[in-house]
Amino acid sequence: MTDRDPSYGDVLRHLADRGLLDPARTADLHALLARREAAPDQPWYVSALAGAGAWVAGFCLVLFLHEVGAIARWEAAQLLPWGIGFLIAATALRRRARSVFLVQLALAASVVGHVLVLGGVAELTRRSHGHVFDSAEPTGALAAAAVLLAAAHYPLNRDPLHRFLSVLNAAVFVVVWVFDARLHVPLYLLLLLEAAGVAFLFTWHRTSADLRSLAYALATAFVLTHVVWISRLELGAPEWPARIVSALWLLWILHWSAGGRSLLRHEPLLVAGAAAVLLAVVAPPGLLAAIGLLVLGHALGERVLVGLGVVFVPAYLIVYYTELELGLDRKAYLLMASGLILLAARWVLGRRPWAREEEAA
C-alpha cells in the first residue's frame, strides 16, 4: 500500500463537506484530539535502544553490587531489601527526572530492582523446595512475584518503557510457570486473558494512552505464549480450546474492523469469517493469532502491531519445524491446508463483482 493515511484534518474536512460535522463543535474536536494524540516522546525503536542500554547497565550494576559484597551471599535477606530499595529509588527518580540520562538511570535501577527482588524470591523458594526449577512451586512463586511487581509498578511509574518491560517480564514468568507446571487449564486461561486483553485494549474507545504499554506487552506475550507452546507440544495439552479462543478472537477482530454489527452481513466479512472458522479447524493456533494481529494492526493503522504479526509468522514456523512431538508429514499437511484456505478465500473474494469495482476505483 503506497498511499498515505489521511490526517484528522483531511477526515474532518471530508465530513464537513458532506454536512456531517457540526461547526460549533470544532474547538471541542480539536481539544479532544490534542489530549489523545499527544506527540510520542520517542518512536518505539528509539525506546528499544533505551531499553537495551538500561538492561546492560542494570546487569553491570547487579554484578557491581555482588563484587562490593552488598549481595555477596545471594541470600534473600540481602537481595530483597536492596531490590525493593532500587525499585523505590527508580520510581522516585523517574517521577522527577527530565534529563535523558536520569531517565536512563531510573530504568537501569528498575532493572536492578526487578532482578534482585525476583532473585530474592527465587532464593526463598529454593530453600523450601530445593532447586528453583526442580518443581513448579518455585516458578509459581516467581510468577506471582513478577505479577505483583508489575501491578505495583504500573500505576506508580508513568514511563511507558518501564511499564511495557515490567508487564512483559511478568508475562514471561507466568508463561514459564504454566509450562513448567504442565498446567492445561491455566494455559487456556492465559491465552484467553491475553487475547481478550489485546482485543479490548486496542479496540475500546476509552483506552487511555496510559494503557498502551499494557496493550503492547499483552500482544507480545500473546505471540510468545504461542511460540513457547508450539515448542513444548509434549505437554500434551489438547489444542481445541486454544483453537476456539483463537477463532473467536479473530472473528471479533474481523467484525470490529468491518465497522460493527450493521456491516456483519456484508459478503466479504462472511467469506473472511468462514475462512477463519476453517483455519481454526486445521491451522496451528498461533497462525490465527498472527492473522488477527495483522488485521487489527491494519485496521488501527498501528504499524508496530502489523510488524509483530509479520515477524511472528516465520519465527513460529521455524519453531514448529524443530518441534519433535508432531511428525513433519502432519505439520506439512496442516500448513498446506492453511495456505490453501487463505488462497481460496482470496480467489472467492476476487471473483465477486464488488472486488472488481473496488479495483477499478
Binding site: M1, Y8, L15, L33, D41, F64, L294, L335, G339
Partner: protein, 336 residues
C-alpha cells in the same frame, strides 16, 4: 511544531471512536470517517496482497516440511517429478500471468523456493558428501537470473538470505575448521554484499523504481551492513590480531559505513529508523573500546560501576541525538 499538531497527524480508528464516544461525531459521521481512513478499496488491496503472500508462504512451508520429512515410501523419481512439475508449473504460470503482476512475482518466488527444495532432495537421495554451503551457493546462482528480472523485493530478500547462508556456512564448515581461529573475512564479505545491495536500492529509489520503495528492505540491509561489520570491529577492539589484515579492513569499512550512513540518512534521505541502527552500532563499538580500556585500568568492582555509567552516558547521548533528529525531521513519516 507542525508535525505535532494533532489535526495534521494521520487519522486513526481509535481516535475517531473516541470522538464518537464523546458525542462529537454522530453515528453516520463515525461510519463515514472510518470509511474515509480505510475505504473498501484499501481494505481489498490489503486483503488481496496479505492473503496471497501469507497463503503462498504457508503452502511453500508445507512443501518444504513435506520433503524434509523424506518419506521413504516415495521413490526418488516421484520426488523429483513432483518438485520438477511444481517448478515448471510455477515458471509457466508466472510467464503467463506476467511479472508486472503480484501473482506472477509470487509464483516466481515459489519457483525459487522449489529450486532449493530440489537441491535438498538431490542431496538426500544421492548423498554426494558435498558441504551444505555448496547447496546454498548453487541455489543462489540458479535463481539469480529470474531474481534480476522479477523486480520483486521479497525475491531479492530470499536471494540475499540464501547467499548469506552460503558464505557463512563456507567459513563455518570449511575455512574455520582448517584455521581454528576467528575469521574476519566472512563478516567483511557479507557486509560488502549487503552494502552493494543497499547502494543498489538507494540508486533504484532515486531513479524512481517503486518496487524498491518499501522501507523494510532498507532497514534490513542497513542492519545487515552494520551488524556484519560490528562483530569483527568489536573482536579487533578486544583482541587485535595483527596477522589478519581483514580486521583492519573491517575497521576501515566500519568507519566509512558510519560516515556514509550518518550523512546519507540524515541529510540526503532522512530516515530515523536507519539512524537508530547507526546510533546502536556506534554505541556497541564505543562501549567495547571503553570497556577494554576500563578493564585494563581498574579492578573488577570499579570497572563494573564505570562500565554501567559509560553505558548510561553513551546510550543517553545517542538517545539525545535521536530525539533531536526526530524533532528536526518534522513533517517526515509518522514514526509511531
Amino acid at each position: 511544531m507542525a508535525e505535532f499538531d494533532p489535526v495534521l497527524r494521520p487519522a486513526r480508528r481509535a481516535g475517531l471512536e473516541a470522538l464518537h464516544a464523546a458525542g462529537l461525531l454522530s453515528a453516520p459521521a463515525r461510519r463515514e470517517a472510518i470509511r474515509c481512513i480505510r475505504p473498501p478499496h484499501r481494505w481489498w488491496t490489503w486483503a488481496d496482497r496479505t492473503l496471497l503472500l501469507l497463503g503462498a508462504a504457508l503452502l511453500l512451508a508445507g512443501v518444504v516440511f513435506f520433503f524434509a520429512w523424506n518419506w521413504a515410501a516415495m521413490g526418488a523419481a516421484l520426488k523429483f517429478g513432483l518438485i520438477g512439475a511444481g517448478l515448471v508449473a510455477c515458471l509457466v504460470a508466472a510467464g503467463l500471468v506476467g511479472l508486472d503482476h503480484l501473482v506472477g512475482q509470487t509464483l516466481l518466488l515459489a519457483a525459487s523456493v522449489l529450486v532449493g527444495v530440489f537441491l535438498a532432495v538431490h542431496g538426500q537421495v544421492y548423498q554426494t558428501g558435498a558441504d551444505a554451503c555448496e547447496l546454498f551457493l548453487a541455489w543462489a546462482v540458479l535463481i539469480l537470473g529470474w531474481t534480476a528480472l522479477a523486480r520483486f523485493a521479497p525475491l531479492w530478500l530470499l536471494w540475499l538470505v540464501v547467499l548469506n547462508t552460503a558464505v557463512f556456512l563456507y567459513w563455518n564448515q570449511v575455512v574455520a575448521v582448517e584455521s581454528c581461529r576467528f575469521q574476519h573475512a566472512p563478516w567483511v564479505i557479507l557486509a560488502l554484499v549487503h552494502a552493494a545491495a543497499l547502494a543498489g536500492i538507494e540508486a533504484g529509489r532515486r531513479a524512481g523504481r517503486s518496487w524498491l520503495a518499501a522501507p523494510w528492505l532498507r532497514w534490513l540491509l542497513v542492519t545487515g551492513v552494520l551488524a556484519w561489520l560490528v562483530i569483527p570491529v568489536a573482536v579487533v577492539t578486544l583482541a587485535p590480531e595483527p596477522t589478519d589484515p581483514w580486521g583492519g579492513v573491517a575497521v576501515l569499512l566500519w568507519l566509512a559505513a558510519m560516515s556514509a550512513a550518518g550523512w546519507f540518512y540524515r541529510f540526503r534521505a532522512p530516515d530515523l529508523p536507519a539512524l537508530t541502527l547507526f546510533a546502536a552500532s556506534n554505541c556497541v563499538v564505543l562501549l567495547t573500546l571503553i570497556g577494554r580500556c576500563l578493564a585494563e585500568a581498574f579492578e573488577d568492582a570499579v570497572f563494573l560501576l564505570l562500565l554501567a555509567l559509560a553505558v548510561l552516558g553513551i546510550v543517553g547521548l545517542a538517545l539525545l541525538w535521536l530525539r533531536h533528529t526526530h524533532r528536526a525531521l518534522a513533517g517526515g513519516s509518522d514514526d509511531r
